[in-house]
Symmetry: C2
Subunit: 357 residues, 2 copies
């Protein structure tokens, strides 16, 4: 177990849950689903039987250092990797894996986002352990794919070899977010899974593949080896981040590598990317309202209402709305119009120097 | 002009505009329609060509003394009559009229609520002056009735003698709030007007009628004569109010007196009794929203939105709603369900000892 490491990506700044989540306190540091813990805490706890806490590394934006410490005080500063600037997932993951390789060249690494929900954590745990075993035995890159339940155009898809009868299947192709028509074909074909951004590999296999497909970035993070776990680490890393390209791990590595495998999985995964998904995963009252805060509802149905306890919120005769109040911002949105929230946030950004974002 | 006096009733505690107006700051002390002045200030200013300011008397709840002073600092304490307890309009009006009679037995008094809107104040002024002239000449009780525009069941109605061709007509009957069926008949008949609670009389005619129809209360306020404008006034008045019955001036006097006249009028009157009426009287944007506060609307129509400037309110994809935020309470109400607000306020009263009311 001591060869098992986890890299949790916690630097994201989502705007879809504005104003409930804002830049200063993004989604992963909220208890979005009312579990009594933040999504980040839930992510850390998911690995309690997989890796010791000292083997968990968090990569996050430098502004979220205090939030990470507050969420999991046991994490040492060595375990909190601070991105000076967001450059998508490839530099973020590479930084963590090269740093881990310095301390343990035989490390098996699980890479995961910190803002997804997993409703069956024990099933997840079993799949992760299976992936670690496979990756460690074979020097391959493994990903956990989610068996799709609908033709969602919000995810990337992974095509696997349908003739492969083993539970861990050879990946044929990574694809970007498809159109609805294409997504429907993917679902029908039966050989596609959703890309959940969960990866498992041995650091040596990762570095070998990264050197081949991203030679410049490989050299940067490899040359930084002598600075990892030293006082100069952040200065050196800042220099790399300031000059490297912004690129996803899918595009930088997974789409190009030949030795990629996927485990099609069902463990109640949701990226909790929309208010609709929050609504679906939340406990609801008899009228179908998912309510948290100091709220009284009358003749109100199918609403998601999340307010601070400072305000008494009274809702009368309303159906199918998203009502969110936090930190001096109130949003009332028809649930059918949630796709416009991103545009609204862009608009609000221009008010008073982004005061409300 | 110095014989003209005004009695403004400003003690009401409405719950219909909760949470915008609350017990601590009721409707008459709000700028409900966005005029740049409170409804009480608007009421006082309406009489600027009718009576000198020192002839304006305000009867209000003792808790609103500071509000009255803040609204019209020029009013002396002598002009602010404090009800120790609300006992409906008859004791309130009698108190003011008996007090005015002490200082000027020839006074002509206009009695008016302080929370109605009058869109054509110069027409109103003309009608009031006409009523004063008539009341002063004839020793009668005059009321200004509103020509009805719909079979509203929220008002009392006044039946006048349709054969009377003069503009000031003999009243045949005061009626309470009717059923819809009855109200429709009233409208069709052409000899009914709405009772707006606006009365004009000479104090001597008032006292004569009051003595006849409310002898006990007459004696109380008449016996108090020696205390008016003395330091003992409030103590004496408190005793009367604590022991007198709660009764409206309509029921106590107007329905019983024989010498009552009405001027059917059109001066853009509204009692502004519902959010619907606030909406109708307010300025609206191109999407039909009446908005005040720090508000951004997107794809939103026919809403009334009133918020404090402390909160940024974003409304997306909403139609026909009342959205009100004030002092730690937010209410979101389907405009078709506004009749339930009173019930909701009753329900909310039981939370935390009426903290939110």
């Amino acid at each position: 177990m001591n060869n098992n490491y986890v890299v949790i990506m916690a630097g994201g700044v989502g705007s879809r849950f504005w104003p409930y989540s804002k830049q200063a306190l993004p989604k992963q540091f909220h208890d979005v689903l009312g579990y009594g813990k933040t999504m980040f805490q839930d992510t850390v706890q998911r690995f309690k039987n997989i890796a010791p806490l000292q083997n968990i590394f968090v990569v996050t934006n430098k502004n979220y250092y205090q939030l990470v410490k507050k969420n999991i005080p046991e994490l040492s500063d060595e375990q909190i990797l601070l991105e000076p600037i967001g450059k998508n997932t490839a530099p973020c993951i590479a930084y963590a894996c090269y740093k881990i390789a310095k301390v343990n060249p035989a490390a098996n690494v699980v890479v995961t986002p910190s803002d997804a929900a997993i409703m069956q954590p024990s099933v997840y745990e079993g799949q992760i352990l299976k992936a670690i075993q496979f990756a460690s035995d074979k020097d391959v890159l493994v990903t956990l794919g989610i068996n799709p339940t609908r033709p969602d155009t919000g995810y990337g898809y992974i095509k696997f070899d349908i003739r492969d009868k083993s539970p861990i299947k050879k990946v044929l192709k990574f694809t970007e977010k498809p159109t609805l028509e294409v997504a429907q074909k993917f679902i029908q074909s039966g050989d596609y899974v959703w890309n959940a951004g969960i990866f498992v590999w041995n650091v040596s296999a990762f570095i070998e593949a990264f050197e081949l497909h991203m030679p410049a970035l490989h050299h940067s993070f490899n040359d930084a080896k002598e600075y990892y776990f030293t006082p100069n680490e952040h200065t050196y890393i800042t220099n790399i981040f300031n000059h490297c390209e912004s690129i996803s791990i899918d595009y930088a590595l997974m789409e190009k590598a030949e030795n990629v495998y996927v485990i099609p999985s069902d463990f109640g995964w949701s990226d909790v990317g929309t208010w609709k998904s929050v609504y679906e995963l939340s406990a609801k009252d008899a009228q179908g309202n998912a309510v948290s805060g100091n709220v009284k509802t009358y003749n109100t149905t199918n609403c998601i209402i999340k307010t601070s306890n400072k305000t008494l919120t009274v809702v009368n005769g309303i159906d199918n709305c998203i009502i969110v109040e936090a930190d001096g911002v109130l949003m009332i949105c028809n649930a059918n119009d949630e796709q416009y929230i991103k545009k609204i946030v862009d608009d609000i950004k221009n008010i008073e120097n982004g005061k409300y974002i």
